[in-house]
Amino acid sequence: MRLGRYELTLEPRPAVSAVYTVLTAVVAILLALALSSFLFLSADASLLGAYRAVFSYAFFNPRGILATVQRAIYLLFCTYAFLVPLRAGLWNIGLPGQVFAGALAAFAVPFVLRAQEQTLTIPPGLVILLMVAAAAAAGAMLGGFAGLLRARLQVNEILVTMMLNSILFWLVAYMIKEGGPFMGATAEGEGFTLPAPLTAPLLRGVPFTAALALGAAVLLDLLFAKTALGYRIRAFGENPAAARYGGISPVALSLLVFLLGGAFAGLAGYHAFTAVPGVYKIPGNYGFYGDLAFYGIISALIARGSAVGAVPIAVLFAGLSLGARFAQGALHLPFGVDYALLGLLMMTFIASHALYQFRLAWRRVPSEVLQPAPTELPEG
């Protein structure tokens, strides 16, 4: 763009410092909040009051904090589920399907053991362990299916995982609605409620899945930074032909990252439906969790593939979506204000990426370009 004697250009930034990375993220958050003031215009409170309602519920209200933590754990597992295949250059869009598979498998364990009808003979701790393992295995199987098709037959993993989402969505519907095997006692389109001893143990209201999620963040970053396997995944993601040349097997690797990613999504399913107090069943609105799972994609992309970096982002997404939902009820805000806020955050983060990699620069236009005048040729 040219303005008078100056022009505005977009130039790639050379090296970017860590401080700057954090700064762009903060600016993106502030910008999203500023833009969201339009959403709060119709609120029963002042603008400041609306913001206060959002934040105080999400991060300062004891109930709200717990809800934020629960949702952040869920989002984190979904983030890993997308992030691991992404590092190998593959796109796991099957988060909802893998979440549902994990949930179904987790509930299948007490179902098979008839735990909801009679008292158990095996210790509940073992059953919980089995549920976790089943959830991870089911998610992994579903992911691995897409990975295998991709590796062996070059079938596009995005299409396969998307279609599996639909299949699993309706499979859950079949399982929990009237007449389905997992039907709840009230037959109101919900799954059966987990017996209290089989719910995930809590420490100060926080389930043990929190430790799994945080531990996984550290382990994943170590995997990519320090191990030979992580190196292979990254090499394959950056240049599949070079990876193959270097002896890395594309088939094994595609399968592996999808198994691992699917397992994380399965854990997200376990967490959402068996570890969050007040849920402990597959609810009728389970589709909501499927939609929420996609925020794992965004947080993985914003965190640039770093699992630890995704932790604050997942907490922020969780807190703001819950806070906005709370404010919606308390201040009679328009319906869907929570999703609108997430959407705004997403847009400002993505916009900040452009500014992270490029900068706007004013340059003086050389005068000879502005006034082309015949000149004597210098001797060459």
Binding site: Y231, A235, N239, A242, Y245, G246, E368, T375
Partner: protein, 518 residues
């Protein structure tokens, strides 16, 4: 035959000139104060080896690359191209080495795509009339309704030329236009270009490293060598020998194979191997040979006769349809690339950027590409960062890789430095079988001599070397055995003493077929 310039054409004011152009890329000086000018109505050949700077200069003339120093003058006036848009607006068109067309669209749609007048609405009927007029004027026959994917490579090139002319180009830059064409297509292209120049006053800049093209089709020639202009000649006054001298520069003392070395025991046996290429055509046909430790087998041939497939079959990257590969007394036909690396096969692919390196990775991480499976560098599954760092620094110094430091990204290395890194990395594994495919392609003279010396060192240390090259001199100076390859078969396997360039050259062209396989 060289074209003659009209007698009355004194050196006039150049239509396009570049003065004092300097361009640096990280680690390389691509152009060093280059002065370059083109006379209107010429076919001006720009000659030079790969990496001489000719493509960089053309990209500057077309606005794709901004020079660090220097200025461009168009018809005597200073111009400043910030992007190809500016260059196109001033009547400069460029046809790149690789096609930039939308394969699923028709010829006409491709031609009007991106034209300044096409904004929002497509007036295809009007455009068709205009393009047809253009075709008639220049004598092109191309079906405007055909889809681009249906066209041959030569026709696609014409579509791009037409597109440039439709965009109003008066100066046409063609980057290596003959590299993908068959000989008849080359003839058609050159004849067409001459007609454009003769009848329509278009000025053509022909970038090439092929002497016959220069001699057959240009009026003037500018020769580039390592970032500088070394000669400006009228083609009529030049000979191929003179041009070669300018292109190559001084004589470089290349080491040649020392034939006193005792060849070792047979290491590699290839028996009746056939394999498909990526398009599903048979690229290797019952190819057989064997190779002993401490020997160099030079595979000489024109690209596309199965060389790449042969290298990939030996590296385990391409399955065979029939036949057997035995290496170190073991049938390796179905072993994976990883298992072959472990057995001591080392492979230097022709595609440095696409296959042999990872642009976004640091040099240390690129070194790891050949070490991530090595127990010595992966204790308990962890990458030995310190060990790899040390190894990389050793390679950088032993192979004269010019890089700021070992954590620079591979994308910032020039082709020659990248090749030194790849060579050093592969040779540091001390392979028993080394497959080197076009190892000196695009390298400057010093780097070429260096790479060749290293290949001979590997041979002296007892490696069996399969050298695949298009450069006959390279083959003849390094090999113990010479195998001209033609259409997926070795025409013969000759002892170096029996191989002279005429015989081998004729065999490479498929002229002489003799059963001489050993």
């Amino acid at each position: 035959m060289p074209l003659t310039l009209p007698a009355d054409r004194a050196p006039t004011e150049p239509i396009l000139a570049a003065r004092g152009i300097t361009k640096r890329f990280p680690g390389v000086l691509a152009l060093d104060h280059v002065d370059f000018e083109v006379q209107a109505g010429d076919v001006h050949a720009v000659l030079g080896q790969n990496g001489a700077g000719k493509t960089t200069l053309m990209n500057i003339l077309f606005g794709l690359v901004q020079p660090d120093e220097g200025a461009l003058y168009l018809r005597g006036q200073r111009v400043h191209f910030r992007s190809p848009h500016d260059a196109i607006a001033q009547g400069i068109g460029m046809v790149h080495q690789t096609r930039r067309l939308v394969a699923a669209h028709t010829v006409l749609e491709n031609i009007v795509l991106g034209h300044p007048r096409v904004r929002g609405f497509l007036n295809l009927r009007g455009a068709r009339r205009e393009v047809e007029t253009l075709c008639n004027r220049y004598g092109f026959t191309v079906d405007l309704g055909a889809r681009v994917w249906q066209l041959s490579e030569g026709e696609r090139q014409w579509v791009e030329i037409l597109k440039a002319l439709y965009g109003g180009a008066k100066i046409l830059i063609l980057d290596e236009p003959t590299s993908v064409l068959t000989p008849p297509e080359v003839k058609t292209l050159l004849a067409g270009l001459q007609a454009l120049v003769r009848d329509r006053g278009v000025t053509v800049l022909l970038v090439t490293h092929k002497l016959p093209v220069v001699m057959a089709a240009s009026h003037r020639v500018t020769v580039f060598r390592s970032g500088s202009v070394v000669a400006r000649l009228r083609t009529g006054e030049a000979t191929e020998e003179i041009l070669v001298q300018h292109m190559i520069g001084r004589e470089v003392a290349f080491r040649t194979a020392d034939r006193s070395a005792e060849a070792g025991r047979p290491l590699l046996h290839v028996e009746q191997v056939s394999a498909f290429n990526d398009r599903g055509l048979l690229a290797l046909r019952d190819l057989s040979f064997s190779l002993r430790a401490g020997e160099v087998l030079g595979v000489a041939g024109v690209t596309g006769n199965g060389q790449e497939e042969l290298a990939q079959v030996l590296a385990g990257l391409r399955p065979v349809t029939s036949g057997k590969v035995r290496f170190a007394d073991r049938d390796v036909t179905h072993l994976s690339p990883l298992e072959r690396w472990r057995m001591g096969v080392g492979y230097i692919p022709a595609e440095r950027i696409e296959v042999a390196s990872i642009a976004a990775f640091s040099l240390v991480e690129n070194t790891a590409l050949n070490y991530h499976f090595d127990p010595a560098f992966t204790p308990r599954g962890l990458l030995d960062d310190a060990g790899l760092d040390q190894l990389t620094r050793r390679i950088l110094s032993a192979y004269n890789v010019k890089a700021p430091h070992q954590y620079a990204r591979a994308r910032h290395l020039s082709g020659g430095n990248l090749q030194r890194l790849i060579l050093g990395r592969v040779l540091s594994r001390r392979p028993r079988l080394l497959i080197a495919h076009l190892p000196t392609q695009g390298l400057d003279v010093e780097a070429t001599a260096f790479v060749r010396a290293k290949l001979l060192d590997a041979r002296a240390e007892g490696a069996a070397v399969l050298l695949i090259s298009e450069d006959l001199d390279e083959i003849l100076s390094l090999s113990d055995w010479v195998a001209p390859i033609y259409e997926g078969r070795f025409v013969a396997v000759l002892l170096r003493e029996q191989a002279d360039s005429e015989t081998v050259g004729a065999m490479m062209a498929g002229l002489q077929k003799e059963a001489g396989a050993r």
